[in-house]
């Protein structure tokens, strides 16, 4: 686990899901916060520094893609992982094209999520040029396999 504090924001309209997930990640010592709408997420991002956003695609009101576009427009450094049910797979695909780092299918496996988060964090470090080679970040196997089947 990366020791450096990584600020992660979870956006999901399913509050029960969101809360449990945040509890589980916090238990693992991560700096995680959450919100249940796209609009609220933008507000939070404007006020706080966030490294990574995990974004549910299917949300009432401002949906995941719109939020993604806004984030990529305003804060291109922030990496976004899309989170979706099956019905929004096309949207996830579209999200990938818009600049999302990766996507995950609900229900998610906590280990898969952690793995993806780490990958994304490594990418952030690389793009910031802060990564140290001895940390072995480049050796991480960055998987961008599109799992459709």
């Amino acid at each position: 686990m990366n020791n450096k504090p990584m600020k992660i924001l979870f956006v999901d309209d399913e509050v029960a899901f969101l809360e449990t997930l945040i509890k589980r990640l916090k238990k693992r010592g991560m700096d995680v916060s959450g919100t249940n709408s796209g609009e609220a997420a933008i507000t939070i991002l404007e006020a706080n520094l966030v490294d990574l956003v995990v974004l549910d695609v299917c949300m009432p009101g401002m949906d995941g893609i719109e939020v993604l576009k806004k984030i990529k427009g305003k804060w291109p450094a922030i990496e976004v992982i899309m989170l979706t049910g099956h019905a929004c797979l096309e949207a996830a695909g579209e999200g990938m094209e818009t600049g999302a780092f990766d996507y995950l299918l609900k229900p998610i496996d906590i280990d898969d999520l952690l793995f993806k988060l780490e990958d994304a964090y490594d990418k952030i470090q690389i793009s910031k040029g802060k990564i140290k080679t001895d940390e072995g970040g480049l050796n991480l196997n960055i998987k961008k396999t599109v799992k459709l089947g």
Binding site: E14, F17, T20, G85, A87, E90, G93, P107
Partner: protein, 574 residues
């Protein structure tokens, strides 16, 4: 289409049999009835005709004989009247009379004699030396002396030759005298013997004592008993002629040749009986010929009818079976697209709605798992059970995820449907895959691929999924029986038509309506999700194509997939 399989079905067998039976019964019954009626009528009228003819014949001859006898009798009578006893007792005068008669009748008269009342022949003319012969005791004389004229029965007499005598009685003073003449047997016999018809018909005469008065052509003395019955009949009763049919020898009527027709008539004042005898089969030979001819026609016509009935009924049932099969195919082609579309929507809706709650449950289970890792629980005796239960919840959650994913793929728009696909390469790949699988099994795989086929646009993985599903189903349909799974591909009217057919058990009409429904499966629980065809249908529809199914029980199933070659709409759907 496997014709033998259709013929083998009991329904068509019994149908063929029933048609045959009906046609045969309907055509034979009137034919046989008409034949019988006509034959009967013909037989009756022919018998009547033959009988009438024979009756007439016998009657005519009876008259002939009667006239013959009457003529001769009158001759003798006239002679006796004209000349008287004295003149006729002169031998030379008598011989002169005889010679005149003989000239007139060609040896019918053999001799003549004059007898006195005591039976003594006082004068004689003829080849025998019978002058002064005494006939006092002779039967003919006794009869002759009592009647004005008489004709005797046939007898041998003094000369030892068969003959009969006609005589005329005259009176001289108070004494009777008789002029008699002998009639040559042979010339009389000719009269009767000339009555001949056919091969067996001939006539003879018997007297009241049942003695032959003429010589029959064949020896029929053994039948003598029979004639008694003819003699018993009273002449008044049968208008002069009677006709009877009697069996001779064997008792059974079935043997031809033993049945004879007797036509008889009394003559000579009912003293003699003229009998005409003919074998019935000879007399009615025309009928027998007609019957044989009718029988031959009946047999040939009957066999003809049976053969034609057999051929026609087979052909008819063939048509029926064919149209049944076609009807079955037509019924089964109707895939209810609208129904499937709504079911698809329902399924994806349910899948979507189920997915979030499942995600939450899995997450909560994960949270509990996280908490269990804390020290305060590490000594709990049920820790392992908690772990097991939580893992189970997670596993089932992922199972739900798989199902919902499959379900949702029905309505899902894919982002990869603009790939250029060579359908033949794809099919070959899949067949290679299957060849390994069916190695050593009873399944034969055949391909009939037109090369090259136009490139189509779509998702490689999705098309693979379709073919894998359908070929898999085909192989499963064969089960443990020998069979063929055939894949053919061709281009038809700007579309690519891919057919995947198997020679398996077929799909029952009830099931056929439902095979594209989600979760419909005939496989055992756990072996199939029932989503294969549902997804295939969804993918093909998305590609702008069409899927059809033809299935006939016991013959097999064919899935036909039509894929558009150049469908630009798909690209817009990206």
């Amino acid at each position: 289409m496997n014709k033998n399989k259709i013929w083998g079905r009991p329904y068509y067998k019994s149908l063929t049999r029933n048609i045959m039976l009906t046609v045969i019964v309907v055509s034979f019954t009137p034919m046989i009835l008409v034949s019988l009626v006509i034959l009967y009528q013909f037989k009756t009228s022919y018998h009547e005709k033959v009988n009438a003819h024979l009756e007439e014949l016998v009657l005519k001859h009876k008259q002939n004989i009667d006239i013959f006898l009457q003529d001769k009798t009158s001759d003798i009578k006239i002679l006796s009247r004209s000349y008287g006893m004295d003149q006729l007792s002169n031998d030379s005068f008598l011989a002169e009379r005889l010679s005149i008669l003989q000239q007139e009748y060609k040896d019918v008269f053999v001799d003549m004699g004059v007898l006195n009342e005591q039976g003594l022949q006082v004068a004689y003319a003829g080849p025998f030396k019978l002058k002064n012969a005494n006939y006092h005791e002779a039967a003919w004389f006794k009869k002759a002396i009592k009647n004005e004229v008489s004709v005797s029965d046939l007898f041998l007499g003094l000369r030892g030759l068969p003959h009969f005598i006609i005589s005329a009685r005259q009176k001289k003073g108070d004494q009777y005298w008789i002029l008699r003449a002998t009639i040559d047997f042979l010339s009389f016999n000719d009269l009767v013997e000339n009555i001949r018809i056919g091969e067996t018909g001939f006539a003879f005469i018997i007297n009241r004592k049942n003695e032959f008065q003429t010589k029959p052509r064949v020896d029929i003395s053994s039948e003598k008993e029979l004639y008694k019955s003819l003699l018993v009949k009273k002449p008044e009763k049968f208008n002069g002629v009677q006709i009877t049919i009697e069996q001779v020898g064997r008792k059974t009527k079935s043997v031809y040749g033993d049945e004879y027709l007797y036509v008889s008539s009394f003559l000579k004042n009912n003293d003699w009986l003229l009998v005409y005898r003919q074998n019935t089969s000879d007399a009615f030979s025309t009928i027998r010929r007609s019957m044989s001819l009718a029988l031959v026609i009946l047999i040939f016509g009957g066999s003809g009818i049976i053969a034609m009935t057999y051929l026609l009924s087979r052909r008819m049932v063939g048509f029926i079976a064919k149209s049944d099969t076609e009807k079955q195919l037509m019924n089964q082609r109707m895939v209810e697209t609208s129904k499937l579309a709504s079911i698809g929507e329902l399924a994806s809706g349910v899948a979507h709605e189920i997915n979030n709650p499942v995600a939450i449950m899995v997450e909560e289970a994960g949270w509990i798992q996280d908490l269990l890792e804390e020290e305060e629980f590490s000594n709990s005796e049920n820790l392992d059970e908690f772990e097991r239960a939580l893992n189970q919840i997670k596993a089932q959650g992922h199972r739900c995820k798989k199902i919902t994913r499959k379900l949702l793929s029905f309505a899902r728009k894919t982002q990869s449907n603009n790939h250029e696909i060579n359908i033949n390469d794809l099919i070959r790949e899949i067949i290679e895959h299957f060849k390994k699988r069916i190695k050593g099994s009873n399944v034969t795989m055949e391909t009939d691929i037109k090369d090259p086929l136009p490139i189509i646009h779509g998702s490689n993985t999705e098309l693979q999924q379709i073919f894998l599903n359908l070929i898999n189903n085909g192989v499963d349909a064969l089960g443990k029986t020998d069979g063929i799974v055939k894949i053919s591909a061709m281009d038809v009217d700007g579309q690519i038509l891919i057919k995947i057919s198997d020679t398996g058990a077929g799909i029952s009409p009830v099931n056929l309506d439902r095979i594209f429904d989600p979760f419909f499966t005939t496989k055992p629980v756990g072996k199939g999700t029932g989503l294969g065809l549902f997804i295939c249908y969804g993918i093909i529809k998305k590609m702008g194509g069409k899927i059809d199914v033809d299935s006939v029980m016991d013959i097999g199933t064919t899935f036909s997939i039509y894929l558009p070659v150049n469908d630009k709409k798909n690209e817009k759907n990206l």
